[in-house]
Structure formats: structure tokens, C-alpha cells
């Protein structure tokens, strides 16, 4: 291994990627590259050396001057050097951006909490602007006392806070037929994890007095999609939350400000945003998003419905296409695991495409229905590897291989693809998205 070979930076990685994209984008990239070369990022783009004025033994310029004062940015924003940590979408997935999805940059994130501005977005009729003073939540149907709540009303109830992931069931769904995306953000980014605060749905149901025939709840949003899903009473009484805050502040508009339903561990679509109405009934409603969509077509032509749970899943986040390795030496294989059924119990890592496995360490908080970090320190000798991770949750469920999943579900069920993912580490440290047969 040559000594001059440095770890490839994110910018270099992107430069490599640019050779794979249409020429107009490539031109844009090259143009920007020229611009960067006059600035601080010059070294990253050209692979040359950094300006040395701020490096030891010199005293950096920021030490010999003053910074900005308090409240120069009343609501703080990330460092300008982190401009690459943003949500992204795959434009060809949907007809336009109002009914579409974006992905969280999980390749850049640390720990288990997703910052509010980076939580993935999914809209069916756009993110609406709701005045909280004019917003109401109505609960009616098979109840003794139908009620309307203002936001002030909802916030008078005792609040609960939980840390749970939120995942679109289509996460990974672009890869049922084969590997398509050379980026972790696009293969697994339809997931985020926040601290959610609100009132337990069971508390509100006690307040209205659900009649004994009441077995289902229709949750309906105030957006132009009138998003509606049928929720079984068992879930409502278990851990469903009426959420008005995330990570310590009021919900972001993208997340349903001022109030949403949140069903821990369940497909994100059931956590209806801009929640305006809950109707208690004796049967499900079979609305569009639980018949035409969010049902799983099986090879025999029949379909699963009410497939709510997000089964155990995991992925290695470093290395990944956006986070390649450089020269041989010590690295941490790191990643995220999660299960909609409970806590992550084990994560195992394979470097040989699943022939042998070794247990990884779970680090930080290990919470039920939350993102969980795993880690395996590794000394790389520069040889090509087939990296995989496999999670086991506390129900004993073991994350399946892609072959096992396809044998049962075929390739057309769109949702709930939670199979073991494979990154091919090449001897140059670059990562390719591959699938194994």
C-alpha cells in the first residue's frame, strides 16, 4: 500500500460518482469544482495539499480573531462546512415533489437521534401550513362523549416522551429486483429516529369513553390528501401517541405541525400527520392507502393487508458508498439496527458475504423500536470484502437474507424489504452496492 494514498474524502467520492451521472449534472459539478478550488475546499477537490497557514506550528486565523456574538443566528444552523448533510430525493420515483419522498442522510448522522431538519419527508399532497390556533382534533363515532380538542387542550393532558424510529415501509423498496442505488441515503434513508412528545391516545380515548363495539379507529389528516388509515384498537390502547413535539421543539411542518398520530414500530404512513379527526368504528374502512397502496402483492397474485409492523432490519453506515475507506489499517465498522417489534438483541457482522459472522457491540442507548448503533473494530488488510450486518430482535426474529425474502414474497411487494444488505468493499477502499445470489 502506497504511503501517499489518503482516505478518500466525501468530495472525492462525489467526483467519482459524477462520472456516472448525465452530462449536464457533470458539467455543474465540474463548474462547482472550479469554484471550490479558489476556496477552502480546494484540497478536497483537487486532492492536493491544504493551505498550511492554519496548521501546526502556525496559529490558526480563527484563534487570532473574534467570532460572532450571541443570537447572531437566533435559531442556530449547522456549520457551513456541513452543507452536504441534507435530505435528498430520487426524482424519477414520483411524478412530482408534492406527492413524494425524501431520504435522511443517515450516512452522515451520529448516535441514534435524527436532527429535526433532516427527518425524511413523505407527503401525499404537500406539507401544509396549519395555524395551530385554528386547528382542531375531533374524536367521535362509537363513543359516549364526542369531543373537540384545541392544541391548548391537548397540551393540558399529562405528556409522555418516547424515542422511536419512524420508517416508510417502502424503505429499500427500490432494490427488490436488484441493486440500483450507489448510496446509503437512497438504499436506506427513509428512516429517522426522534424523541416524540405528546399525549397517549389511550388517555384521549378514556376521555371520550369508547363503547364496547369500538374496535377500529380511523385516523384522518387535515392535508389535501385527507390521509386516512384504519388503526386497530389494540394498538391505540398500547403505545400510540398523539404527538405535538419532536426532539424538544414543536413538530416541524414536514412532520405534521401542529399534531400527528404516532404508532411506534409501525409503517410510517399509519402515523397520520396534521391529524384532525379520529373516528371510532366497529370495522376497518379499507381506504385507498390501505388497499391500493401499503398492501403487499405476493407472487400468487394475492395481497397482504394491514401489514403494519416494520420487521428487524440493519445496515452498515460506515463504510458505505458515501463513506469509503482509504489505506489499510484500523477502522470501525459501524451501523444502525432497528425493529418495530421491540429491542435489538444482537447484531452480527460478516466480511465474507455471510459465510462466517461475528457479533458486533451495541453501543449507546438500546431502546425498544428505536435506532440502535452497532460497532465492530476491524483491521483491514486491503483485501476486497463482502460486508453484511444481520440483526436479531428480542422476539428472536432474525433479519432474513434477500433470497429468503424473495422466495416468499417475489419481487413485486414494494413494501417491507428488510433483508440483509451487502456492501462490496474493493481493494481501493471504495464501496459498491451489490446483492448476493
Amino acid at each position: 500500500m502506497s504511503e501517499s494514498k489518503k482516505p478518500e474524502s466525501s468530495k472525492e467520492y462525489l467526483a467519482g460518482l459524477a462520472s456516472n451521472v448525465p452530462s449536464s449534472s457533470r458539467r455543474d459539478f465540474l463548474k462547482k469544482g472550479v469554484k471550490f478550488s479558489t476556496g477552502l475546499a480546494a484540497a478536497a477537490v483537487t486532492g492536493g495539499s491544504l493551505a498550511t497557514n492554519n496548521l501546526p506550528p502556525n496559529i490558526p486565523s480563527w484563534t487570532k480573531s473574534l467570532g460572532t456574538g450571541v443570537v447572531s443566528t437566533p435559531y442556530g444552523v449547522p456549520s457551513k462546512f456541513e452543507a452536504n448533510t441534507i435530505r435528498r430525493t430520487v426524482e424519477w420515483l414520483t411524478a412530482e415533489k408534492i406527492s413524494s419522498i425524501s431520504m435522511s442522510p443517515i450516512q452522515e448522522l451520529k448516535g441514534i437521534i435524527t436532527p429535526n431538519g433532516l427527518v425524511f419527508e413523505r407527503y401525499h399532497a404537500g406539507a401544509i401550513t396549519v395555524n395551530p390556533e385554528e386547528h382542531r382534533l375531533m374524536i367521535h363515532g362509537l363513543v359516549d362523549n364526542p369531543l373537540i380538542f384545541t392544541m391548548d387542550d391537548l397540551m393540558r393532558f399529562p405528556s409522555e416522551s418516547v424515542i422511536n424510529f419512524l420508517e416508510c415501509p417502502a424503505n429499500g423498496g427500490m432494490e427488490w429486483r436488484g441493486p440500483q442505488m450507489e448510496a446509503l441515503q437512497f438504499t436506506h434513508g427513509m428512516i429517522s429516529c426522534c424523541e416524540w412528545t405528546g399525549v397517549k391516545l389511550s388517555t384521549l380515548l378514556e376521555e371520550v369513553g369508547v363503547q364496547t363495539k369500538g374496535k377500529w379507529i380511523l385516523a384522518e389528516g387535515a392535508d389535501g390528501a385527507g390521509m386516512s388509515r384504519s388503526i386497530p384498537m389494540d394498538k391505540a390502547l398500547d403505545d400510540a401517541l398523539i404527538v405535538y413535539a419532536q426532539n424538544g421543539e414543536m413538530l416541524r411542518p414536514e412532520q405534521g405541525y401542529p399534531v400527528r398520530l404516532f404508532n411506534p414500530g409501525w409503517e410510517g404512513n399509519t402515523s397520520v400527520k396534521w391529524l384532525r379527526r379520529l373516528e371510532i368504528g366497529d370495522k376497518p374502512w379499507h381506504h385507498r392507502e390501505e388497499t391500493s397502496k401499503y398492501t403487499d402483492l405476493m407472487p400468487d397474485g394475492r395481497s397482504r393487508r394491514f401489514s403494519y409492523e416494520q420487521e428487524a432490519n440493519s445496515v452498515i453506515t460506515s463504510p458505505c458508498p458515501e463513506n469509503p475507506w482509504g489505506q489499510k489499517g484500523s477502522y470501525e465498522i459501524e451501523g444502525l439496527a432497528w425493529s418495530g417489534r421491540g429491542k435489538i438483541k444482537h447484531v452480527d457482522v460478516s466480511i465474507d458475504g455471510g459465510v462466517t459472522w461475528r457479533p458486533a457491540r451495541l453501543k449507546g442507548l438500546v431502546l425498544s423500536k428505536a435506532l440502535t448503533r452497532f460497532s465492530l473494530p476491524f483491521k483491514w488488510d486491503g483485501s476486497p470484502l463482502l460486508l453484511q450486518s444481520r440483526s436479531v430482535d428480542d422476539t428472536g426474529y432474525v433479519q432474513p437474507t434477500l433470497t429468503q425474502l424473495r422466495d416468499i414474497r417475489g419481487t413485486n411487494s414494494i413494501y417491507h424489504k428488510n433483508s440483509i444488505h451487502t456492501w462490496q468493499l474493493q481493494s481501493n477502499g471504495k464501496i459498491k452496492n451489490v446483492q448476493l445470489k
Binding site: 456516472n20 457533470r26 459539478f29 452543507a83 452536504n84 430520487v90 411524478a95 412530482e96 408534492i98 406527492s99 404537500g126 375531533m138 369531543l147 373537540i148 380538542f149 387542550d153 441493486p179 448510496a183 441515503q185 378514556e206 376521555e207 389535501g224 385527507g226 386516512s228 379527526r277 373516528e279 370495522k283 374502512w285 379499507h286 381506504h287 385507498r288 388497499t291 391500493s292 403487499d296 402483492l297 407472487p299 397474485g301 394475492r302 395481497s303 397482504r304 394491514f306 401489514s307 403494519y308 452480527d348 465474507d352 455471510g354 459465510v355 459472522w357 463482502l386 436479531v392 426474529y397 433479519q399 432474513p400 437474507t401 429468503q404 425474502l405 416468499i408 452496492n433 448476493l436 445470489k437
Partner: protein
């Protein structure tokens, strides 16, 4: 005695009205927060419809009445025959395709209940003007979509009482989630034969470029007029759907040639066509883009935005 008899019942009533409330608060955890929803308030928001027809308002609509409504409000995205324009969903066709390599999931081939069609059109369509249709329009358009799928005859009239009896072909092919359906084991060594591993690589060139610098790009754009700034919101919510993707022959913002051709008639004519609707050689513009709740000024501003933002 007289006075006691009069007073006693009053006293008793007071006692009755206080005690149970106190008992409720202690026993069932009622907080007494919220306001009773009136029947009128509930009726205004209770729009959902179930497969058994519960929730349908009085009304009816025929296939024949639905055809022109569909053409005006639905066809620009879903196609005249329900075939779907661009990436917008097809509504018809696909019978027998669910076991094929590329299944086509449409109302006729996939949807289990006709009530879902009525409910969805009523709550979310047309895409640019949700919850703007009358019950009569929803019945008529639903009837027409059923007709496009050969599920009803051309003289069919859909009503509050017959909707639940429209049987959809795929109704019996759904079942409740029966996962977990895999049974992987936590094998630690010799889990497979390494010589049999085949590596499948990704398609090249379809991963989006991640080197975004949108702030810089935005800064380079020329400043917009006040009218255009005012029109941007309308454009985003009502026009972008077609003018962003070019569906139904709509000129996209970067299609300077098409816009210049239209501008030969003058800006006023372009605005007039946007407000009143227009059927051109290469495309169809529904009045106000199908969102009749927009004011003329809003449409004018949106046109201005589209002209300046190119």
C-alpha cells in the same frame, strides 16, 4: 312541612349532580378537557365511507354524466381511458396481471372495494383541488371510472344505495398480514458455500447526483417581480403538478421555445387562457388548472411567475 317538601328535592338534586362527577374524575381518569362536538360539527368533517356504504351522502351520478367531468378534471393526469399520463397512476386495465412480472395495479385489477374509489375521489381529488367536488360529481366520476374498467354498463347510475353492491373482481384476494414469514437462523460459521456466491452489481447511472449546492444556484437567479413572487405559492400548489412534469402537453418552466410560441399572442391572452381554459394543438389547459377556488389575480400572478422563473 310544606317548605321542607319543596326544599328537599332541590337539595337532593344538588347532591346527585355533584357526587357522580367527582366519582368519575377519580375512577376513570377523566380530565374534563375538550368541548363536546356537536352533530353539526361532526357532520361537516365526517366524510369517510366504508365498504358497506356507511358514510355515503344522498345522491347519484351516471356514467354519461361522469364522462365530461372526468375529461375536464381527471383525464389530464389519468388519461382519457384511465391509462395514466407520465408517472400519474393508471386507473384502468391490468386485469389478470397481478401474477405477471410487471403487475398493473388499477382500480379494476386491484382495488377490493368500490367504496374506496368514492371515498378517495371525495377526499383527495382532483389533485390540485382536493375536497372541491359535490356528491353528485363524485358519484358520476366514480361511475365513469367503474365503466372505464368494464365493471358497469354505459347506462349505469351509481347511487347511495347501490354502491356497496358493486363487486370488485379482486375483493377476495386480500388477507391479513401473516408475518413473520421468514425463519432465518443466527448461524455464525460455515453458513453457506463461499464458492457458490454470485455477486449482482447495480445499474450504473441512475443514482442521483449528490453534489447539491442549491443555495448557490438560487442566488444566481434574477430577482422576480412582485406579481411573480405572489404567484409562486399558487404555482407550487396548483400549477407545478402539470407544468413541472409537462403532463397533458403543459409547457415546463425550462421549455423556453413553447413559452415563446405562446407569448406571440401576448401575455394577456396567455393569462386569459389560463383563467378560462384552452384547448391547443399540443396540450389542454383546464380553467385555472382545475382549481376553480383560485382568484383571477392568483392565476395571473402564477403565470407571471412561470414566465419570469424560466
Amino acid at each position: 312541612m310544606f317548605s321542607l317538601n319543596k326544599l328537599f328535592p332541590v337539595f337532593a338534586l344538588v347532591a346527585i349532580s355533584f357526587l357522580p362527577v367527582a366519582a368519575l374524575a377519580a375512577d376513570t381518569g377523566h380530565y374534563g378537557i375538550g368541548t363536546t362536538a356537536t352533530a353539526k360539527e361532526i357532520a361537516g368533517w365526517d366524510i369517510d365511507v366504508r365498504p358497506d356504504g356507511k358514510g355515503l351522502p344522498k345522491g347519484e351520478g351516471s356514467v354519461a354524466q361522469g364522462e365530461p367531468m372526468y375529461e375536464a378534471k381527471c383525464a389530464s393526469c389519468h388519461g382519457s381511458f384511465g391509462e395514466g399520463e407520465d408517472r400519474w397512476p393508471p386507473l384502468a386495465g391490468g386485469e389478470g396481471s397481478l401474477t405477471e412480472d410487471r403487475p398493473e395495479k388499477t382500480v379494476g385489477s386491484y382495488w377490493p372495494y368500490a367504496s374506496t374509489l368514492w371515498d378517495y375521489i371525495n377526499r383527495a381529488m382532483p389533485f390540485t383541488a382536493p375536497q372541491s367536488l359535490t356528491p353528485h360529481e363524485v358519484y358520476a366520476i366514480s361511475a365513469y371510472v367503474l365503466y372505464l374498467n368494464d365493471l358497469v354498463e354505459d347506462d349505469f347510475v351509481l347511487t347511495q344505495s347501490n354502491l356497496a353492491s358493486v363487486k370488485m373482481p379482486n375483493v377476495d384476494n386480500f388477507y391479513i398480514d401473516n408475518r413473520p414469514d421468514t425463519n432465518n437462523k443466527r448461524c455464525m460459521k460455515d453458513c453457506k458455500d463461499p464458492s457458490k456466491i454470485v455477486i449482482i452489481k447495480s445499474l450504473s447511472g441512475i443514482t442521483p447526483d449528490q453534489n447539491e449546492d442549491s443555495a448557490e444556484a438560487a442566488a444566481e437567479k434574477p430577482k422576480l417581480s412582485e406579481s411573480a413572487i405572489a404567484g409562486k405559492a399558487t404555482y407550487t400548489t396548483s400549477c407545478l403538478v402539470c407544468h413541472g412534469s409537462g403532463v397533458a402537453g403543459a409547457p415546463t418552466l425550462d421549455d423556453k421555445e413553447s413559452w415563446n410560441k405562446r407569448l406571440e399572442q401576448g401575455v394577456d391572452t396567455v393569462v386569459k387562457h389560463a383563467i378560462k381554459g384552452f384547448m391547443g394543438e399540443s396540450g389542454m389547459m383546464p380553467p385555472k388548472g382545475g382549481n376553480l377556488s383560485l382568484s383571477d389575480q392568483q392565476v395571473k400572478d402564477a403565470v407571471q411567475y412561470m414566465l419570469e422563473a424560466q
